[in-house]
């Protein structure tokens, strides 16, 4: 099976073309050791051909200089160094015909990789209205590669592209030995300054002598890109120091010979582009009339209206996530309960039933409940991105974010983190400045995500008096909820400052970003993106969350003789099966079961851990039970509600709104009879949860996105320290009050 790569600038319609070619048969692959995903899909060459092709969709990029992780992945895939992926047999470069010169920059680099190349000249339908005329035949001749005109969003030219690809692959196959045949008419690198090319020759000889054969393009990248760049990844570790030495020598020599690194490359490539398009492209001089996109833009980035629109839009999006998600969330909750009850009715009480019901179904179910929210959030994000508004939001927020030392590109990831930090952290991939991206990833979990709500709601409804303050305008409960929501965002400001000052110094942030024209979002592209996210989320729930649920269940179940509890449970279930049972007898059995459950929990490993942990959490106003519940909620914050329910002998699965649990919390006492929970304790718990990193999925996502365990550990340590300090301060302040 042949492999073909698809590459192009961002906003060229690459996703549409990919979907048109593969017919929606895409899957997102995560390659080990790489922080960036790329998609692969299957396609057939026309209806008659039986030949199937694997199409690899590379991240949208302006250049192959390996400055960002996205660019490095593209270079590695195209040169066949990506583990688990063969070197592509051909590459399709998609160019935006309305913006040909800038798009040709990437093509000029791709051509130097020596792969059979095919150009898709996209947005062909928009040329006329832009007053541009391009002669595709002359362009093909001038570039030395086949050119096909396409309008991917309207599915025009897709069949032509497929047949051109078939021809290209066939001719590549028949002339496998004679690779030169695929050399295009001219390469930009042949016009690089003579001293530079000599340096590359010398380095190539040296690499050969070290038994490390590198393509010429990569040696050029090593010389041109600075040492932070990802091009160093391809060098074997043992050679790194010597290579760095040789490169800096070569650069000094080149500087003395008047070769300006890195600018000579850009100049040479644009000179090459000018030659290639001479006589090929014609722009009709036209009066500059404001296009519809411009008119929309004037309003949406307007001084006052733009900001107002932005705030209202964000509010509506987050409101509608809550509205739309509540129905499917109730459905999922109902389904998990129903499945749990079915299992209970089919199995006798025992460890296996407990593992299935209390461990797996309750654990995975409590996380699956958030699937609708995540799907809806990604639906809106995909619409914002595809319509072109996302880049405007970043544009408008850049000044504000730059006061905090970051750029507008960090704003939306942080905004998404108010729903869930996981999509927020994944959305940081578009930030090319490493420092900005790292700071954004590290503060994103401080934003008040939806998993904190159950904790807040339980504590507020149990301990904050339901009365009005400030002359009746604000409800006390609502005010406390809002304060908890805002706390993390406020704390993130000094944290971001400290991170930039001490952890990631240097590398000032920039804001060089394309503002794509407004267009109607393509439903297909939007749904595709939502689907990819949903699949990724389900995969995680099925692996990591499943495992941690089972582990926590085991820690709370063992050791201990569950015999009496199982007998009592079986008795109760038998009693319930009788139509006119004695309610008092049932009541007595339930009390006995709750008693036993609470005994089992305090005997379990988790309960022992609680005794150990009590001295540590005492300064926060917590008892050992709260300590255990917090420990057990390490996999996910909302687990604390279920764990508190279990511990307070009501059995797991207590809903946070149930009066039962709130009443139990209010009546819990220390051994000397004082109540455990006061308003101060409740606030201390809430502040702890506002600031802590109790979410394994977030930590695993940080691991995946930063490609190192160092940063999730760092996040966990700093956030737990913050949470402990915050809870301590709040508890002590409020106790004195």
């Amino acid at each position: 099976m042949a492999t073909v790569a698809l590459i192009g600038n961002p906003n060229t319609g690459k996703s549409s073309l990919f979907n048109a070619l593969c017919g929606g048969q895409a899957r997102v692959g995560n390659y080990p050791g790489v922080t960036v995903e790329h998609k692969t899909g299957r396609m057939r060459l026309g209806s008659t051909s039986h030949k199937s092709i694997e199409l690899v969709d590379l991240p949208g990029t302006y250049s192959l200089s390996a400055r960002s992780a996205d660019e490095a992945v593209s270079v590695e895939v195209l040169s066949g160094e990506m583990p688990g992926l063969a070197r592509p047999d051909a590459v399709i470069v998609i160019l935006d015909a309305t913006n040909l010169e800038r798009n040709l920059y990437l093509l000029s680099q791709v051509l130097e990789l020596g792969l059979p190349t095919l150009v898709a000249l996209n947005m062909w339908d928009r040329l006329e209205s832009e007053g541009i005329a391009i002669d595709p035949k002359s362009l093909s001749h001038s570039l030395g590669v086949p050119v096909v005109c396409t309008s991917a969003s309207k599915r025009m030219g897709v069949a032509d592209l497929q047949s051109a690809l078939g021809e290209l692959l066939e001719s590549a196959e028949s002339s496998q030995s004679a690779r030169e045949q695929h050399q295009p008419a001219s390469l930009a690198s042949t016009s690089f300054p003579e001293p530079f090319r000599r340096c590359v020759d010398e380095l190539a000889l040296w690499f050969d002598s070290q038994g490390c054969r590198l393509p010429r393009f990569q040696i050029e990248r090593l010389l041109i890109d600075d040492s932070q760049a990802h091009s160093y990844r391809v060098i074997p570790k043992v050679l790194t120091s010597e290579v760095t030495e040789r490169i800096s020598q070569a650069r000094e020599q080149l500087a003395s010979e008047g070769v300006a690194i890195p600018l000579f490359e850009t100049r040479a490539r644009y000179a090459w582009i000018k030659q290639r398009v001479a006589g090929v492209i014609e722009r009709k001089p036209r009066e500059r009339r404001a296009s519809l996109s411009d008119q929309i833009d004037r309003w949406l980035t307007h001084r006052w209206f733009g900001l107002l629109f932005f705030v209202v839009l964000m509010f509506l999006i987050f409101q509608s996530i809550t509205w739309f998600a509540s129905w499917p969330m109730d459905g999922i909750e109902f389904a998990t309960q129903w499945i749990g009850q079915r299992i209970e009715s089919m199995m006798a009480p025992g460890p296996l039933r407990s593992l299935l019901v209390d461990g797996i179904i309750a654990g995975v179910g409590s996380v699956l409940v958030f699937l609708p929210q995540i799907a809806i959030l990604f639906f809106f994000i995909a619409i914002l991105e595809d319509s072109g508004y996302m880049s405007r939001a970043a544009f408008m927020m850049d000044k504000f974010m730059s006061i905090l030392g970051m750029s507008g590109k960090s704003f939306l990831p942080l905004m998404s983190s108010f729903a869930c930090a996981i999509p927020g952290i994944m959305a940081t991939r578009t930030i090319e400045n490493r420092r900005d991206r790292m700071v954004t990833i590290l503060i994103a979990p401080l934003m008040s995500c939806s998993a904190r709500w159950p904790v807040y709601v339980l504590m507020v409804s149990a301990f904050v008096p339901n009365r009005s303050v400030m002359g009746g305008w604000i409800g006390a409960q609502g005010a406390v909820l809002f304060a908890m929501m805002a706390l993390g965002a406020l704390v993130s400001i000094p944290v971001a400052w400290l991170l930039q000052r001490f952890v990631f110094p240097g590398e000032p942030s920039t804001f060089i970003m394309e503002l794509s024209s407004y267009k109607w979002p393509s439903l297909r592209v939007v749904l595709m993106r939502v689907w990819e996210r949903v699949l990724a989320f389900l995969a995680r729930a099925g692996s990591l969350i499943l495992v941690t649920s089972v582990l926590i269940w085991a820690a709370a179940y063992f050791p201990g003789d569950h015999g009496p509890l199982d007998i009592a449970t079986a008795k109760l279930e038998a009693e319930q099966a009788i139509p006119d049972a004695d309610p008092e007898k049932q009541q007595a059995l339930e009390t006995q079961i709750n008693q036993l459950k609470s005994e089992m929990i305090s005997q379990s490993y988790l309960g022992t851990a609680g005794d150990w942990i009590e001295p540590i959490v005492r300064p926060l106003g917590w008892d050992g039970k709260i300590g255990v519940a917090v420990l057990a909620s390490f996999p996910a914050r909302e687990v604390i509600v279920a764990t508190l329910g279990t511990i307070y002998s009501l059995g797991a699965g207590q809903d946070e709104n149930s009066q039962g649990l709130a009443a139990q919390l209010r009546s819990a006492t220390w051994p000397d009879g004082r109540p455990v929970y006061t308003l101060a304790t409740a606030c201390s718990i809430m502040v702890f949860f506002a600031l802590c990193a109790q979410c394994v999925s977030t930590l695993v996502t940080i691991r995946r996105e930063t490609n190192s365990w160092r940063w999730p550990i760092f996040s966990f340590v700093y956030m737990t320290a913050l949470a402990y300090a915050g809870a301590w301060i709040v508890f002590n302040l409020m106790s004195f009050w």
């Binding site: 200089s65 600018l263 980035t301 544009f395 000044k399 920039t510 804001f511 060089i512 503002l515």
Partner: protein, 77 residues
């Protein structure tokens, strides 16, 4: 001859690029994005808080902070 930088353009004003200053990867990035000598650039608008600024160059819209725009020397047209 009226040589200034991109940062000095007001809304609706345009200029032709003379040079991109600096010898680092930021300058290379600016040039990769199409800010090359000889190209015409128009200032389209600015963000609500005055920074960054939107420019029209080689047929698309580019956003630059004022600090970055100051590196690009132009001749007004």
């Amino acid at each position: 001859m009226d040589n200034t930088t991109l940062n000095d353009l007001l809304e609706g004003q345009a200029g032709t690029i003379i040079d991109v200053q600096g010898n680092d990867s930021l300058s290379a990035r600016l040039m990769e994005m199409g800010l090359i000598p000889g190209e015409r650039v128009e200032m389209v608008g600015q963000a609500p808080m005055g920074d960054p600024v939107e420019y029209s160059v080689v047929g698309y819209r580019l956003s630059l902070r004022r600090v970055e725009a100051r590196r690009v020397w132009i001749q007004r047209v």
